[in-house]
């Protein structure tokens, strides 16, 4: 087996040129079974310096298209005082990189850019180099500077020594120093500047290697045969039905998992289509038309997020009480390319090329799938089609691993579009949300009550739960256990990770306001129930759905008391950063301050309006606001968004262009989700199975102008930034529809039918 150190030595020559394209070839050559990830408290686990002074950095946070690889390389270049081009970043290989769990939850930026991990490794390495330089040059550390890969005398730039001469190809043998000083963002020269995506030239010329392009010598091709209906089980498989087909190598059956392996992918696809399988159907699915009320009747696990125990009394004494119910559908990741993986399982060892967002959990859970020791499973992350949470990347990795194990050769599996959409990914959860609030005689909110019902099944596989995704369940593992609990215990600490608590609530615990708002009479009760479909963390999970309800309802309250929606929000917000996000978005949009709906708008034909929404993402992981200008065709119910202005405060900004790219994409993805995207089903199966039945806005729709407002906070901690703008789109657009027409659409997506129905209900 070749060690990580050998890998570094061998790759030294490559360090001078930054190219992620170098990585797969190297990783494949040295890709033996993992012996375990390098320890995260050791500097050598994160940073290596080659003989030529080039820097190789190792991270457990991967590039998915969100731009974090660029920002991480900037971070290392900044802390080590080298140019961006001198840093080569390797991420998410279970044999090479520190275990940082999964890349998700807007956590990469806070995890690696504040006071630990990659950031602290960079600072520790710089200080170590300064000490080594001091010894070599005979000059005290406080009279030295690090610059452009050299340690040199502050007063005499001719007295210098290069990093390669100081440490090149040798270990630091240091633990991360929590006191090593991070650079002040005000002194940044690499971070804080827009840096182009290094992978892009390869991507646009068709040279980039996605997981779909991985080819291993002797590789065969597999296809899976999923159940035709939800919960159906295998009664019989007639292997002879495909035995004579060209190229067929093997039919693999393991409980309810079925796959076909062939020499070529087209042959595997043909055989999978012809294989005769008899299935035993499961009980019918709950009706989609009555699904919202179905959720209210299910056994639930109840949780209070906040409860001041005075909400009913305050509501009883309020001048006016408003109630509304919102519904958000299941939605898909709907990855553009159907998921793919390559596995080589030979004897008791496995190598997996996977686009999973969690290589270490794939390693441990796939070991269970294969009956191997985790240390014998090596997972190499390879980029796939954009994921946004939990598409079929994990389940297709199990598919490939199972088929490879059955034939003893490497196998590549790519799902069909239908398999991806109906039997591959874990959907974003549906949500039913009741909102209730009381206002006093001055129109101020005196109490707020929120209650939600959300169905879940499975999740990320985690350390030991392969049954959290479909392939694991098909071979007999169980999804994470569901334990009903009612009534909910009293909450003991403030946690707004799900944004279940509206931004306007005080979140009062231990005599202090932990929330971002001012409303002290508060109750948020969450009911988790069992879903008929697999669910998982689709971009802004729960946060998007809750924010849709909270920010729509806040608009309804403002309209009830005839207040301007921006002023009304600010009136109930105590948090300076969230307030600033609202104010800056409103200012950039030249916000038309007045109550909604807009007076004098026509009741027929086209009507225009504007809406706003804001969020403190996960309570404290990014602050954002969005203003939308939209036009509603009141005869057809069609909504056209004309302009989106979105502000974001994510602490010190690492890469302004990367941040803008995320804000723009999030805004439009959120717009697509709330205007057309909805998982559908009949009595027995999912019916949204392709791009005709699941409606994603195409490139050529009338794309609105998207303007971004970046709020740089050099003195604050880095927060997440990839999920804020998407969180706001549904509410901001719904509020613009209301402003234009006076009609409130409380069910997403805002299809023309639903908009017409809301228009018809206007008084």
């Amino acid at each position: 087996m070749i060690s990580r150190r050998d890998f570094l030595a061998a790759s030294g020559a490559l360090i001078v040129s930054f190219s992620i394209e170098d990585r797969p070839a190297a990783a494949q050559v040295f890709g033996g079974p993992a012996t375990g990830s390098p320890p995260p408290n050791q500097l050598d686990s994160w940073i290596a310096i080659g003989a030529d002074g080039g820097v190789t950095a190792f991270s457990g946070k991967e590039e998915l298209g969100q731009g974090i690889s660029v920002a991480q390389a900037q971070l290392v270049a900044e802390e080590l005082c080298v140019s961006f081009q001198r840093v080569r970043l390797i991420y998410c290989d279970t044999a090479l990189t520190p275990d940082q769990a999964h890349t998700s939850g807007s956590q990469s930026h806070p995890t690696n850019f504040n006071h630990g991990n990659l950031a602290q490794a960079g600072a520790t390495a710089r200080e170590a180099l300064l000490r080594l330089g001091s010894e070599r040059l005979g000059i005290p550390v406080d009279q030295l500077v690090a610059a452009e890969g050299f340690i040199r005398a502050a007063s005499d730039s001719s007295k210098k020594v290069g990093y390669g001469d100081l440490i090149g190809s040798r270990k630091f043998n240091l633990t991360l120093d929590p006191k090593a000083k991070r650079k002040d963002p005000r002194e940044w020269t690499v971070l804080g500047k827009p840096v182009p995506q290094p992978d892009l030239p390869a991507i646009v010329t068709g040279q980039f290697e996605y997981v779909h392009n991985v080819r291993v010598p002797g590789m065969l091709h597999g296809r899976v045969v999923r159940p035709p209906t939800v919960g159906a089980t295998v009664a019989d498989v007639d292997e002879s039905s495909v035995a004579s087909m060209p190229g067929v190598v093997k039919v693999v059956v393991k409980k309810n998992f079925i796959g076909v392996v062939a020499e070529k992918p087209w042959q595997a696809l043909q055989a999978a289509g012809k294989l005769k399988v008899t299935w035993t159907p499961a009980p019918p699915l709950p009706k989609q038309s009555g699904f919202a009320n179905h959720l209210r009747t299910q056994p639930a696990r109840d949780t209070f997020l906040v409860n001041s125990n005075d909400v009913d009394a305050k509501l009883a004494g309020a001048a006016s009480v408003l109630k509304a119910t919102y519904f958000h559908p299941y939605q898909m990741h709907g990855s553009f390319g159907s998921s793919c993986a390559v596995a080589s399982v030979v004897d008791d060892k496995a190598t997996l090329w996977s686009a999973t967002q969690a290589v270490w959990y794939q390693k441990s859970s796939c070991a269970m799938v294969l009956g191997l020791k985790p240390e014998n499973v090596h997972v190499i992350f390879k980029r796939g089609s954009g994921c946004y949470g939990l598409n079929a990347a994990d389940t297709v990795t199990y598919d490939a691993a199972l088929l490879s194990q059955a034939v003893g050769k490497p196998v590549r599996v790519q799902l069909t579009r239908k398999d991806e959409m109906a039997w591959g990914e874990n959907y974003g959860n549906a949500f039913l949300m009741d909102e209730r609030a009381g206002v006093d005689a001055q129109g101020n909110i005196v109490a707020w009550d929120h209650e939600s019902w959300s169905p879940g099944l499975g999740n990320r596989p985690g350390i030991g739960a392969p049954g959290n995704v479909i392939t694991g369940t098909l071979i007999g593992f169980r999804p994470a256990a569901f334990n009903p609990r009612s009534p909910a215990p009293a909450p003991t600490a403030f946690n707004n990770n799900s944004n279940g608590v509206p931004s306007y609530l005080a979140g009062r615990f231990g005599g202090a306001n932990k929330g971002t708002g001012t409303i002290a009479s508060e109750r948020v009760l969450v009911h988790n129930v069992v879903s008929p479909f697999f669910t998982g963390p689709l971009r802004s999970p729960s946060r998007l759905q809750n924010t849709f309800a909270h920010e729509s309802f806040m608009d309804e309250l403002a309209a009830r008391v005839k207040a301007d929606p921006v002023e009304y929000r600010l009136r109930h917000l105590g948090h300076v950063r969230l307030r600033a996000a609202v104010e800056q978005a409103a200012k950039a949009a030249n916000w038309d301050a007045r109550p909604s709906p807009r007076a004098g708008n026509p009741r027929t034909g086209a009507a225009r309006g504007r809406g706003i929404a804001c969020v403190a993402y996960e309570g404290d992981n990014g602050y954002a606001a969005m203003v939308v200008e939209a036009e509603v065709d009141q005869s057809t119910g069609k909504v056209s968004v004309k302009r989106i202005v979105v502000s974001t405060d994510c602490g010190p900004i690492s890469n302004p262009d990367g941040l803008r790219n995320q804000m723009e994409g999030g805004a439009l993805q959120g717009m697509s989700r709330c205007l057309g995207e909805e998982v559908t089903w009949d009595d027995e199966k999912i019916t949204s199975i392709d791009w005709r039945t699941y409606h994603s806005l195409p490139l050529g729709f009338n794309v609105p102008k998207v303007e971004t407002v970046l709020i740089n906070r050099p003195d604050e901690e880095a927060t997440g930034a990839g999920e804020t703008s998407i969180t706001l789109a549904a509410a901001a657009i719904g509020n613009a529809i209301f402003d234009a027409t006076g009609a409130r659409v409380r069910q997403s997506p805002f299809t023309p039918e639903r908009v017409r129905a809301a228009l018809a209900e206007r008084t």
Binding site: V204, T205, H212, P265, F336, G386, R417, P698
Partner: protein
């Protein structure tokens, strides 16, 4: 299986394939090209688009038997990392990608359309792009890149 001759990016390839095999499979699996990609296999997303005799074609549903002798151009056939085609350069200049998986379909569809319709209006470009998807929703930058390329043709 049959002997099938394909002309791809100016080179001739003699392959042994089921004539019903979709062109995409031949390009991806037999010729190991990375530009055209499998997105849906249903001609709904644009991921597999190639240009055949000047027209954008969805290679996931086009049997190889129907393109024998045709001039097939893939994303790789436009330009290289060192010398990108003007439309590829426009995407780099606008930083017009996130995951990048859809880029093939966007570039090949836009190029085929604009080369035939160099004076297309913005509305006509949008219409031409109405059948391709980007799920990261990098729409703003991609449309800017397409317009940048269109401007270059006109100039």
């Amino acid at each position: 299986m049959s002997a099938i001759t394909l002309k791809v990016n100016g080179r001739t390839h003699n392959l042994d394939l089921d004539p019903a095999t979709p062109l995409l499979y031949a390009l991806s699996d037999d010729l190991a090209l990375r530009g055209p990609k499998f997105g849906c296999g249903l001609a709904q997303c644009g991921s597999c688009t190639v240009i055949i005799n000047g027209t954008a074609v969805r290679s996931c549903v086009r049997p190889v038997s129907s393109v024998v002798g045709a001039e097939i151009v893939t994303l790789e056939g436009l330009g290289t990392i060192d010398k990108p085609h003007p439309i590829q350069k426009a995407f780099i200049d606008e930083q017009a990608a996130q995951c990048g998986f859809c880029v093939n379909g966007i570039i090949m569809t836009a190029k085929a359309f604009l080369d035939k319709n160099p004076k297309a209006t913005e509305a006509e470009i949008q219409q031409a792009m109405s059948g391709v998807l980007c799920r990261c929703f990098t729409h703003v930058r991609m449309l800017a890149a397409i317009k940048r390329y269109a401007k270059g043709i006109k100039a």
